[in-house]
Amino acid sequence: MDGLQSWTWSYDGWVMLGGLLCAVAASLPGNFLVLRRMSLLGDAVSHAVLPGLALAFWITQSRSGFPVFAGAVTTGLITAMLTQWIRDVGKVDEGASIGVVFTTLFAAGLLLMSQAAPRVDLDPGCVLYGVLEASPLDTVTIAGFGIPRVVLMLSIVLLINIAFIVLMFKELLISSFDPGLATTAGCSARLMHYLLMVIVAITTVASFEATGNILVVAMLIVPPSTALLLTDRLSRMILISAAVAAASAILGDAAAVTVPRWFGFRSTSTAAMMTVCAGLIFLVTAICAPGRGLMAVWLRRQRLSLRILAEDTIALMYRLDERGADEPVQASQLSRKLLSSTLQTWMALQRQRFRGWVVAELAGYRLTPAGRQAAAALVRSHRLWETYLVHEGVDAGVIHRQAEVLEHFTGRSLRDKLQAEGPASDRDPHGSVIPTEDPDLAPP
């Protein structure tokens, strides 16, 4: 933890603030990119501003100022328009047209840079991953305080982005979810698209020197994707994405100084570590997100399969009883017949014992009267479905499998309907008796 002890507010605080501002500023417009399924356009724009940057450097011979900014924003816009144009005119798929445009512009940028290199101090590496660590060295004095230029610039960009989203919230919302409706309602979806691209380009350009485009690209995509897994409302999504971006900036800053020390190295690139932290937050969310995460989906699937197995268990016990075997059933017999593992069968039986549908005796398991009722309802559903399917002309060879699926999702009212619409018979196509409906059984 040697790294964090030498951490100072006056220096590292600025570094962290710079990264934080950049991350939050990028995550805001990123929400709309992800919602419009154009995440990669952000990546493309951030690569493609290179020639604008290089050209402006070349012409003005300076590394900052309005011309550079304007040049980069213009190329950003040109990228968006060219992509659209190639897609429309050439009838090429969106991804391909993005790929064509941004690689071409990036190559042009590299070429320009290599030609300008002897005269201007410009390093493509700096553009890609930036030197956030050196940003506090370049300060601007405002009201007596020395504020790093990067922090000042990124604060302005953040304010612009917040203002854009607050003022245009309704328009952005409607054009992201239903561009057609937006256009008919008098707010051109295309105009919003280009405005969004301008905002993305501005954010990218402002972040270039400080953090490199890798942090911008990551923050445009990763925090909004994380937020999308966590909420259903756009306003909440934007807030969550900003929080995720801020958290990954802070964690990343700390990780950049601490993690390498565990392996005996000095610090590593702050911007890159911020990206990695955003990725980790996404990973955790993807696994744990309530309702949508991998774990939630897995658990839901497991619960469903356990429920179905438990139902199959009592239905099987009912059928065994029906055939006159009047002795308790062994768990091993059940798992052999249901092709389930010992553990699964045990869990299913425990579930039914907990509900009071099955009792454990010394010799094995037995259905309680309540369990018999529940099982009878299931078997009734199964046989009614088989009868109905044959009545509807389905081949008798496949009805069992279909009924096996349907029985688990059939309630009392559906059973009554099946009986009313099917043939009036008390036996199913295989000749088994269809159990009658128990009048006081509540629908499962």
Binding site: R37, L110, I214, G279
Partner: protein, 479 residues
């Protein structure tokens, strides 16, 4: 027909494989240094130039080839994400190799690392895509940026090693095309062979996967497995090219040639060939240019040549190019205008023509009458009349009226016949109101085929063979 296509495909495959093998192995030095730089580059005099040009050309061929399938699968940017995803593996391999007692800069070690983290990237893409709400683009974007960030973090740690000159590692990002070695070229050639061979063995399956994955799945093809295989092939060629030419150039070579080839043909096997040709051509020209002008970065030049070829294809492509499509539209519009002119003259004089059954039946109309019929300018109308005149369908009489010739009259009768048939069909069978059928028939009549006309005639219970022109359903408007 199909057999022949398959045969040509096989021949092509064999040719490609042979050229890969030959090029990969044949790199022997010749010593002459007296010519001009241009000549020396063009004649492949320098050993170095020869290797670079060969390597770039091969890479262009292989990538153009593989890229076709990812483009058609609508995954053009997969290569983008994958090539970024290899970076952390490269860095980690460099850091960890000394621990395992290997040289951290040996190419096989680095490539092994690249392959492992690229594979992880593939798995991450597939997992994220399976999450609710997050689509392909988000999956690619997340993998691309996070893996690249991790790569940069690891590389900047590696920079602190005493032995850690990053000269070799940085080339994975920017490439060092101009410094390509014979072993690089050989590596590219071999992975090109492997990728091409895989694609040819599973040609049918990949074709199905690209054009109709639902159908492929229903026929029992393992779609998910094929997707993974396709991504593996992409990764193979990416890794081979990565160190030689860098990230962005690699993406460009995977995306641009197939996108350009799409403008030239509608057939997959031709598209594959053209794409490989465009890729190799841009590799060849690009590296030759940067060989002649020493201070140009060859990677960027290759991309720009490639982009130039793309733009050319976009404009002049034989199947879907901008000009071809514009030309086709122009021809169609002219045909439509011609039909409007002939039908206009006929319908203006229809009453007289019907009354006078015997020959000759002159049908002539004044320019002003015709001008009022449609929203065409006088100039358009004049030009159309001249065109029809040269085709012998109309002629200008001395009194300025435009008269149908014998052939023009027959043609006009045919057109009016088609128009009326379609109108009647719409009214009787499609329940379209009489006031609206004219507009709709107008749109369809130009593309009615003879077979369809025959069906319509049957439907309308007209006598076949004898062509009767039905009365216009809105006789007042027309006559």
């Amino acid at each position: 027909m199909k057999d022949r296509r398959l045969q040509s495909l096989r021949a092509m495959a064999a040719l490609l494989l042979c050229s890969f093998l030959l090029c990969g192995c044949g790199a022997t030095p010749i010593d002459t240094r007296s010519e001009s730089p241009l000549l020396r580059v063009l004649l492949l005099r320098d050993y170095n130039t020869r290797v670079v040009i060969l390597g770039a050309t091969l890479l262009g061929t292989g990538a153009g080839f593989v890229g076709c399938f990812t483009l058609l699968r609508r995954r053009a940017l997969t290569g983008d994400a994958l090539s970024h995803a290899t970076l952390p593996g490269v860095g980690l391999a460099f850091l960890l190799a000394p621990v395992a007692g290997l040289d951290g800069k040996s190419l096989p070690v680095l490539l092994f690392g690249a392959a492992v983290s690229g594979g992880l990237g593939v798995m991450a893409i597939l997992t994220i895509r399976a999450l609710p709400r997050l689509k392909e683009d988000a999956a690619l974007g997340i993998v691309l940026s996070v893996f690249f960030g991790a790569g940069i973090a690891i590389l900047s740690i590696a920079q602190q090693l005493e032995s850690g000159h990053l000269a070799g590692l940085e080339s994975f990002i920017y490439g060092r095309t101009a410094l390509m070695t014979a072993s690089d070229a050989r590596l590219i050639a071999w992975s090109g062979v492997a990728a091409t061979a895989t694609l040819f063995v599973f040609y049918r399956q990949f074709t199905l996967l690209c054009f109709d994955d639902g159908f492929a799945a229903s026929r029992g093809y393992p779609v998910a497995l094929l997707d993974v295989l396709l991504m593996t092939v992409v990764m193979l060629i990416t890794i081979a090219g990565l160190q030689a030419v860098g990230l962005v150039l690699m993406i460009a070579l995977l995306v641009i040639p197939p996108a350009a080839a799409r403008f030239w043909t509608h057939q997959l096997h031709r598209m594959v060939l053209i794409s490989a040709a465009i890729g190799s051509l841009s590799g060849l020209i690009g590296s030759a240019i940067s060989g002649v002008f020493a201070d140009l970065p060859s990677g960027a030049v290759i991309v720009l040549v490639c982009a130039g070829l793309f733009f050319f294809s976009l404009m002049f492509g034989g199947a879907r190019g901008v000009f071809v499509r514009a030309l086709r539209r122009r021809v169609l519009r002219q045909a439509i205008d011609r039909e409007h002119l002939l039908r206009g003259i006929y319908e203006l004089r229809e009453q007289e023509l019907r009354e006078r059954e015997s020959q000759p039946r002159p049908a002539a109309a004044r320019l002003t009458e015709l001008h009022e019929l449609r929203t065409w300018t006088v100039r358009q109308l004049q030009r159309q009349i001249s065109r029809c005149e040269s085709e012998g369908l109309v002629w200008r009489r001395a009194d300025g009226e435009i008269e149908l010739t014998e052939r023009g009259l027959i043609e006009a009768e045919r057109l009016v016949h088609n128009h009326r048939l379609w109108e009647l069909y719409l009214m009787t069978h499609a329940d379209v109101a009489a006031s609206r059928v004219d507009r709709q028939a107008d749109a369809v009549e130009h593309v009615l085929e003879p077979a369809l006309i025959a069906r319509l005639e049957q439907l309308m219970e007209q006598e076949r063979g004898r062509r009767i022109i039905p009365q216009s359903p809105h006789a007042k408007e027309v006559s």
